[in-house]
Symmetry: C2
Subunit: 341 residues, 2 copies
């Protein structure tokens, strides 16, 4: 219970050798003979030695830690992405610090400050809904900490991103509704400062255009896409004298809120109104009717993003070319949109 802080100096003293030799022995340096290494390792075990990573990182100017910032860890997409990130990072010997901005710019700012103070080697971030520019990230930029965006990104030249094709996703979702006979399709969108929501919206518009359906501004409702926003948005739609027969929501959560409300109002889904979401939350396959949605491969995106980041970290010359990898979204057809057989 007592040997709280065994250091290499304690090992050195016990073996009557120098601490530099101990350090090299522990790091398996060729300048130390195998015999000495064995003695050191034994003694280290015996004393319960544990490397002090603070000291090590300080000296090496490298923490072997990357920071991950997501809006909220409870979202399935983000926790999958984190799983992918962790797998890749751990394999490469990196630790991961997970942080959630809870969609607040101020929290995001504070997190970045802390990560920077802790000298993380790189940052993976999916920005909050309040984030409109890279102001927050300048701290990191300034001291040369690599950043890779995944999913919710900012369009910064020279920065790597891992995205899915939100335009295509929006297009596919909308065209699917059209293919099911919908003529009057509303869209729940998120903050337009976020590329992903802008692009999903663009996809929606493009699909309408292709099928000669006129865009009706009254059918576009922007919000933060929480469940309550979905309810509110659905309410707003019903209050208008427009015969809506389809909704494409830019995320599942809002879609589910809307579904619950509409069901409560006696509206039949998909017969009266067909609904398509975005993200493929686990809940979406369970709800009744099950929700048609666009799948985002979170785990895969996390792995790719972490790999991009690690490449940049390892390349101390900073000559790595920024890369933007765009994954294909996949439409998952379920019952909430099944109007034709």
């Amino acid at each position: 219970m007592e040997n709280s802080k065994v250091t290499i100096h304690d090992i050195a003293k016990a073996l009557n050798i120098d601490s530099s030799t101990v350090s090299r022995a522990l790091n398996n340096n060729s300048r130390v003979t195998q015999k000495t290494k064995n003695r050191v390792n034994e003694k280290a075990n015996e004393l319960g030695y544990q490397r002090n990573l603070l000291a090590s990182s300080l000296r090496n100017n490298k923490s072997n830690t990357i920071g991950v910032i997501v809006p909220r860890i409870s979202r399935h997409f983000f926790s999958s992405a984190i799983a992918g990130i962790e797998e890749t990072a751990y394999e490469a010997g990196y630790n991961v610090i997970i942080c959630q901005s809870l969609e607040q710019l101020s929290r995001e700012q504070k997190i970045i400050q802390t990560l920077s103070e802790n000298r993380v080697d790189g940052v993976l971030i999916s920005i909050s809904m309040e984030t409109k520019d890279n102001h927050n990230l300048l701290i990191l930029k300034k001291n040369g900490t690599p950043i890779v965006f995944f999913d919710r990104h900012l369009d910064i030249p020279g920065n790597s991103n891992v995205l899915i094709d939100d335009f295509q996703g929006g297009f596919d979702a909308t065209e699917h509704l059209i293919s099911q006979g919908c003529k009057c399709i509303a869209h729940f969108s998120g903050p337009q400062e976020l590329e992903i929501y802008k692009n999903r919206f663009e996809g929606y518009k493009s699909a309408l255009e292709k099928h000669n359906i006129e865009l009706n501004e009254n059918l576009i409702i922007s919000s933060k896409l929480m469940e309550s926003d979905g309810i509110e948005s659905a309410k707003k739609l019903l209050s208008q004298p427009i015969p809506i027969d389809g909704i494409f929501s830019a995320n599942d959560v809002a879609a589910i809120g809307a579904m619950q409300y509409l069901k409560g109002e006696g509206i039949k889904i998909p017969e009266d109104i067909a609904i398509v979401g975005f993200s493929n939350e686990p809940i979406s396959s369970v709800i009744e009717p099950s929700l048609t949605t666009i799948d985002q491969p979170g785990f895969e995106m996390g792995k790719i993003a972490a790999n991009l980041l690690l490449t940049q970290i390892k390349d101390k010359s900073g000559s790595t070319v920024a890369e933007t990898i765009v994954l294909k979204p996949i439409l998952i057809k379920r019952n909430s949109s099944k109007r034709l057989i």
Copy 2:
């Protein structure tokens, strides 16, 4: 882009004073005059100085960081608990490192190792399903790092815990099923090494006993309580020639798996079989029929646990008495068990 590493020495040099004065100025020490403090702060801003927490923690032998280990962050209960932990910790000026064991003992071990190497000031943990003793935690114990268990705990004398009354929860869930007319109630349990599952099981037994229902060992199915386990368990139950009319599952996830399977088999819930879960996952209120369950106040538990831990951290004398706080579970009655009106 260039001033990657501004240190107090750079500030000192720029102002032609000593770095010790800079350090004290930045820390608002009374030994430095206000005028100097102002000059230092200005220059620090100008140069974009950022404290190196690695150096600071090393010198102070205090990282102002706590580690949190949970089985998986995607579970609603755990992400709520984390939210509570973060709120409390940040208020007290502590950073939080979130880690997930993914129910694997080996991962838990590695995480603890890393947290210890990073010299966290304390650890909050909800153990994995594979964890059967405190072996993993000895590293922390040895160097005197305080540990507080929340929810999934080990019974270690002298250790603080924040729990809910799992026995009561199990009892209430089971008695509720009995009150709805169930006579033959199965139980999905988790690993019996975990106190929580043992206690939920005990509650189940106690409720049966109170109502003079004989315990049938064939109705007790242990698993890791994943969704697939719920399906398997339901299958197993149906394969037996026993007229089951109720299931108390030790978590919602397995309950939902079972529900899906049973519905697929044409069994009516709750008419044929009533089901009660445990945890109150968000999905449980949305599924049809909505799932009766036991609510665990995750956010609150997180706050309490963090407070207990911070108290122990601040008390360097180590004289803080271990405390076990048990919260009351709340039965949330929904449709999956509504057989009588």
